[in-house]
Symmetry: C2
Subunit: 232 residues, 2 copies
């Protein structure tokens, strides 16, 4: 899971398609298979690990699938990052080998907390970590299995977080740009979004994000146009 | 989740693409929104509910995501179906509204067990069920939210269970067909698979399934051809 704070600036992005997810996860499954590691169950890190975890169950024919929610919280007062286990329930996994799955290792904070929690509280025999991307320059550890090592930081826009990312990206862009312009047509917003993020998420996500910004009171409609109400 | 036993015959199928999943889940999210139900957390039924649950978190902006594994087991001796909670852990969800998510309500056995478990053991204030498909003629209940009512039973081939389905379908087909023919070329297998299931899963899945059948000793390779070793 990636720290949300990073969304507060223009970022390098890469749109990830569903087909990418399938082929990346298939390649990850091949690596796990050839390593000889035979997990008894998959633990998905919520929320980023859910889709890769489900696909790994398919590719590795694993029936047992559970989840753990390990998340970053930015404490506003301290402006510092802390990972927490949100629902720290108990399980007995003695004698079991776990495959702990997330989308990406960024700093690795939330994943290493999840691993520690599973080892100490669920008593799993072994826990190995599998992810699609490993951002090696910032990560605190190297995952046991990864599809791709990323050497220059980039925002992977995964399909399961498309609305939330579009919403956050749009909000950031309009907050900044509203210094110069308050009223926008839809096509002006689309062009500016492409200029900022080079990310073609499609009309349904763009319009969905605009609707959410309207509902939250950040924007209001005037005829065909959008007015930024927010005062930064 | 659908009873695996059904895989033991030729079935009517529908290949579900990732884009279908996204638009179906978006429509499901719209229904939930307009109902006024505001869940505090999403509980995904493992394994079928993982992808729709993750997407609903995106479309509804819900942060809290956990899972429960409720599955059918066919007891061979009794030839009867029974749903069980695989990892019956404890949680305290007092004061919380739950959205319980699965891909499909077939008989509804596993989902209604999950709902009962969450209500009784996790003390959730309210549990509502959301699924992509509701097979109304066989389901024991009507889900609170569904994208599509299915009036004639059909096998939805979801993208997250493509390898397992292809493997099971292929195994069934070759078991039957091996009464008449033991040796197959790849293209003969592909044509027969289309004839049986009318399901174009693509070469990677077909070859993946064949490889698994080889690894399990059901098939062996002889040059370019596949020989069915299994004696039914």
């Amino acid at each position: 899971m990636i720290n949300r704070v990073i969304l507060m600036a223009k970022v390098r992005t890469q749109l990830v398609a569903w087909d990418d997810i399938v082929s990346w996860t298939r390649s990850l499954a091949e690596k796990i298979k050839s390593s000889g590691y035979r997990p008894d169950l998959v633990v998905a890190v919520a929320r980023g690990g859910f889709v890769p975890a489900r696909l790994l169950c398919d590719f590795l024919l694993i029936d047992n699938l559970i989840s753990i929610q390990s998340q970053h919280w930015t404490e506003a007062a301290k402006a510092e990052d802390k990972a927490v286990i949100k629902f720290p329930y108990k399980l007995d996994l003695r004698g079991k080998k776990v495959l702990l799955v997330d989308d990406i290792v960024d700093t690795g904070e939330s994943l290493s907390l999840a691993k520690e929690f599973i080892t100490q509280n669920w008593n799993a025999d072994e826990v190995k970590i599998a992810v699609l991307q490993w951002i090696s320059p910032v990560a605190k550890f190297k995952p046991d299995f990864y599809h791709l090592e990323v050497k220059e930081w980039i925002w992977f826009q995964y399909p399961w977080t498309r609305l939330e990312d579009t919403y956050q990206f749009m909000k950031r862009m309009l907050s900044e740009e509203s210094k110069y312009r308050k009223e926008w047509s839809y096509s002006e917003i689309v062009s500016k979004f492409m200029e900022w993020y080079d990310l073609d998420v499609g009309d349904e996500y763009l319009k969905g994000a605009l609707r959410m910004l309207e509902e939250s009171g950040f924007l209001r409609r005037e005829g065909e146009n959008y007015i930024v109400v927010y005062e930064g």
